[in-house]
Amino acid sequence: MSILLSSVLNGLSFAALLFLIAGGFTLLYGIMRLLNLAHGALYLWGAYLAAAVISGTGNYLLAVLVAGGVVGIATVIGGVGLFARVQGNELREVLLTIAVSLVLADAALAVWGGHPVGVQAPEFLRGAADFMPVAFPIYRLFLMGLALAVGFGLWYLIERTSVGALLRACVDNRAMLASLGVNVRRLYWFVWMAGGFLAGVAGLLGSIVFGIAPGVDVQILLLALVVVVLGGLGSLSGAALGSLVVGLSYSFATVYAPELLYFIIFGPMLILLVIRPQGLRGANA
């Protein structure tokens, strides 16, 4: 009973974290149709930057701003500088994001070294809450709340604000939007920035759970990939759904079938891609 309950809670909190991790990834795909395979490397840099700020100042807010801000700005620069040349050519875009991720991950290794780094949650989020049979870390509860807040915030931004209307129009028909007088390039800067910011902050949030070490970037990327592919590339509600599916199955698999862990995560994704390539909630592939 208590194993079941703790598996469910673990699964939900993991799902929340997955959703936060996948946010920036799904945003870039949703708006720009860019499959950003450098997402994990951006996360890694966010994590290292945040860890450095925290160990230097102990200020978590500053850590969020530095991790999100630096990674966001770097993403804008990289995006505008590199991707303008290959825009519209999917395969070359993908290759470029892979190349960038190799560079970033190796640069992180050079700068921060190969030792695993642990990051603590801020003071007020440490400790555990009691749910009769199980005690559950407060930080993980916080993640669930944050995921709900971020999910709602993104939904509001996209569906209810004027920037959101611009973004939706851009997805509908980019060339048309530009020929109406909208500076689509500037809009893209915003998207690059937002995607990078979310990836960087996810680095902080995730490193408190997973820690930081070389190679984390690939794992994070794969998790994000599975989540958004399951849900439907570029769809916010799909990412939420995908996170739940992966979070819960991961949590149960680690307890009940550790040898099959990867089959349980990647298997459903493969099957889904075959029978429904657009994902659970995607409109089109």
Binding site: S162, L166, A169, V171, D172, N173, S179, V182
Partner: protein, 236 residues
């Protein structure tokens, strides 16, 4: 304001679509660009609006001496060209009003507010359905929205690509009236059309496009719809 296109050539990838297109539109003028399917009407308008395709390989596009042949895709609209594309291309996931207000950041709040009033005046039908999702509109309503959307930025010259395509005659009449009103207000109009009768009735001057070249230019007032040369070019 005057739009001048001089010896324009353009291509999709390696396939040439325009070879030699020259035309002029000034404020208050209505110019018709006619030709059969695939002769380059849409390509001409797209080149002027700096769409990603076709790419211009030769010739010049200027507005009052300002060169528009190169540069960012949003410049033509900012300079005062409005574009109503073939197939309407309204933003289906936005509401009717959002389709118009989405231009706030491009043109400023005041301009857009004035633009909204103008659109609701011109097409009262649209005002009634302003909160409806654009994807569920009828063809005629979509066309009105596309025209309205092009007017939000207060263009001095409007490029219209086959606005009558696929619409019922009564709606075409309504649109024709609206276009005539715009022309009377002094907006210059470049109208790409296959429907010769409509083009003759609306325009001051007709240009015939064939295989990416302007092959014939006539004043509309003197044009006889049964003129054999004209009809042979249009293949009717």
């Amino acid at each position: 304001m005057r739009l001048s296109v001089t010896s324009l050539a353009a291509q999709y990838g390696q396939g040439a679509a325009l070879h030699d297109v020259s035309l002029e539109v000034a404020e208050g003028e209505v110019i018709g660009l006619i030709g059969r399917n695939g002769m380059g009407k849409t390509s001409t308008l797209r080149a002027v609006m700096r769409w990603p395709e076709p790419t211009v390989t030769a010739g010049r596009i200027t507005v009052d001496g300002t060169d528009l042949t190169r540069g960012a895709a949003h410049r033509p609209a900012r300079i005062g060209l409005g574009y109503v594309p073939q197939g309407r291309m309204i933003f289906g996931s936005l509401t009717v009003e959002e389709n118009l207000s989405v231009l706030t950041r491009a043109f400023g709040r005041a301009t857009v507010r004035a633009g909204l009033t103008r659109v609701w005046d011109l097409f009262p039908k649209l005002a009634d359905i302003r909160n409806r999702r654009a994807s569920v509109l009828s063809g005629g309503e979509q066309q009105m929205l596309a025209i309205g959307r092009a007017l939000v930025g207060q263009p001095r010259i409007l490029l219209l690509d086959e606005p009558s395509e696929g619409l019922a005659p009564s709606i075409v009449d309504e649109l024709t009236g609206a276009i005539r009103n715009l022309a009377n207000d002094g907006v210059g109009i470049l109208l790409a059309e296959q429907n010769l009768t409509l083009a003759v009735s609306l325009t001051d001057r007709l240009l015939v496009l064939e295989q990416g070249r302007v092959v014939l230019a006539r004043d509309s007032s003197g044009v006889d719809i049964n003129d054999p040369t004209l009809r042979s070019h249009l293949g009717v």
